[in-house]
Symmetry: C2
Subunit: 350 residues, 2 copies
DNA sequence: CTGAAAGCGCTTACAG
DNA sequence: CTGAAAGCGCTTACAG
């Protein structure tokens, strides 16, 4: 391992001061063009790269964003990581990734703070809001991704958040199911303390209420494959009182439901029961699932996250929420309107 | 945003020197127990956290590992990220995540080097080995994860690598297929320049050769869903000359093959054709796929990665390769031995 | 446009 | 066990 080459080494070779070397690597600094040229040549010769750590210490900007997630089995999150990482790289930022169960959240917090990250993105539905508030108290901008803080304000601060229009998305699904003739509509919730799950359920209920319907049944899958399976089994235990549609709080659980309904309960989707998810993960489009779902616009969510982050890094203390529209993606898991129903409403058909 | 509290502030409050504060936060440093106590109390009072950036500058250790990946759609990699991240967190290290297409690899490299990472893990089959060699030249330990450098040595250095026993895994699959009576065995390669794909194919061919067989056909799917679909279509174009088994270089492509065979070609798996993958991603266990595959032991691979990394960070310059055993996971996509064949070999059955 | 100097927040010999 | 001091590799007023 060769000794690290520093700005001083380059300065010596290029016969300039160390300050000049620094300027030659600072966009917009005032250096004569030929000086800069000479410095860059020397730097290339020595294999010099500015030390970002030293720069961070003096500028008090690390250009690092902490990204906190709890689990990646739900394919929605790898997609988020990929897009967020690439976008931030383009902005000249980098991503320090923390995987955290809710239990060791405190240690994670300490680590993040010690690394002097310029901001934090919490992209997980299962992290405590207390953690977020601690960061804000430490003066570090936090953006909640795909969730909302449980307490929106604390000590005069508020937590920024980027979410889909979950309630509107839920309503879209409710309207689709109702207009296709479903009357016994069940809801499979994610985590009871997750804002995403709540809002999607509220949207569903809005649509049901507008049609004078109520939730037929309700289960909780904790956004987990195995738990979703169990909940589905319970929901469909009584053959005489089966739901005719199941709306799941995300695709990950919807796929678990699909598998369980087909394999273990011998039901056909959508003939016996319709299934709808939320997210539009890549697997939803696979022919085996062909899942009708609500697409979260990850690109727009990532853009909004960057905007909120940079606003706050730039000193604008105002936290705010941004809400991104989502769109219904109709595929094959919702039963089409029955014939008599179609006749009934034929004028409405587009 | 409150002003940052530093070791000096704590020193003032605890009525000690700034050096003492530093020692109180350095495990193993010599401080009187009650002094340490007083300092920690003061620190807690002020909300002090040591600045990891400043520490890195002086210790010349950032305790950051750069993790470079190209894409996360193959679910194998999110699993790797999750486990690697958590293991390194436990070691007191953190992960700076870089997503890189092969094209912008150079920029990525510069960034990594500027951030003074203590080591780099390249966990992607599609990154150039030139990139890896550049890092080694810069004196930063590199471990290839799930691949091997194209040129193992350069300028006296070699690149450490952690891989599964891919050739043995490929042989296992070949033996399974042959012993179950398949005779027209096709191979769906990943990328032509990926060591994983090569070795698995070589293992398959070993098994075929031992049974006096040859590859029946061969396609290339570039580890991509859409390309795998296209390759499968080509492989099965001629109904008179169809493979009776298809071994895919990873599960991601095997699932694409399954979907294509069933939906577009109307073939039944395993009655018409057997399909085997490699990795054992979570989806392989889903009932819709129930995919027979070779499991890569991610836990062992992660452990080996840490070992190699820390060896080299500790100054042992020797790069070396570690190879982790993998195991055949038999599920439902391989046709069982035909009756006459079974009779023939009945004594061998375990 | 350029250089000398101060300083970012720490760690770590070196004395005592 | 403790403190004063040097220094990690940069940036950035401040003069010139």
């Amino acid at each position: 391992m060769k000794a690290k080459v520093t700005a001083h080494d380059v300065a010596r070779l290029a016969e300039v001061s160390q300050s000049a070397v620094s300027r030659a690597f600072t966009p917009g600094a005032s250096v004569a063009p030929d000086t800069r040229e000479r410095i860059h040549t020397a730097a290339r010769q020595l294999g010099y790269r500015p030390n970002a750590i030293a720069r961070s210490l003096i500028t008090r900007r690390s250009r690092i964003i902490g990204l906190v997630m709890s689990y990646l089995e739900n394919q929605f999150y790898p997609v988020v990581i990929e897009q967020l990482c690439q976008a931030l790289q383009q902005d000249g930022y980098h991503v320090l990734l923390f995987i955290s169960d809710t239990e060791d959240a405190d240690n994670v917090l300490m680590d993040i703070l010690q690394y002097q990250v310029d901001g934090i993105v919490m992209a997980s539905t299962t992290l405590s809001s207390a953690l977020a508030n601690d960061c804000i108290d430490a003066g570090i901008p936090v953006v909640m991704f795909n969730r909302v803080a449980q307490r929106r304000t604390m000590g005069g601060y508020a937590t920024s958040a980027v979410t889909s229009q979950n309630r509107a998305g839920g309503r879209l699904v409710g309207e689709l199911l109702v207009s296709n003739g479903h009357r016994r509509i069940a809801w499979l919730a994610g985590a009871e303390n997750a804002s995403t799950s709540h809002e999607r359920e509220a949207g569903l209920c809005d649509a049901l209420a507008a049609a004078d319907l109520q939730l037929h049944a309700r289960g909780v899958g904790h956004y987990d494959f195995a738990e979703a399976r169990r909940a589905v089994l319970a929901l469909f235990r009584d053959p005489a009182n089966r739901p005719d549609a199941l709306f799941c709080a995300n695709d990950h659980m919807a796929i678990a439901a699909l598998e369980t309904l087909r394999t273990e309960l011998g039901l056909h989707v959508p003939r016996d029961v319709s299934v709808v998810g939320f997210d539009n993960v890549p697997q939803a489009a696979w022919p085996s699932f062909d899942l009708t779902t609500v697409q979260q616009n990850v690109g727009q969510m990532v853009d909004a996250t960057r905007t909120l982050l940079f606003e706050q890094i730039g000193g604008q203390v105002l936290a705010r929420g941004v809400t991104v529209p989502c769109v219904l993606v109709e595929r094959g898991t919702v039963r089409a309107r029955s014939v008599e129903y179609q006749t009934h409403k034929t004028s409405e058909t587009t």
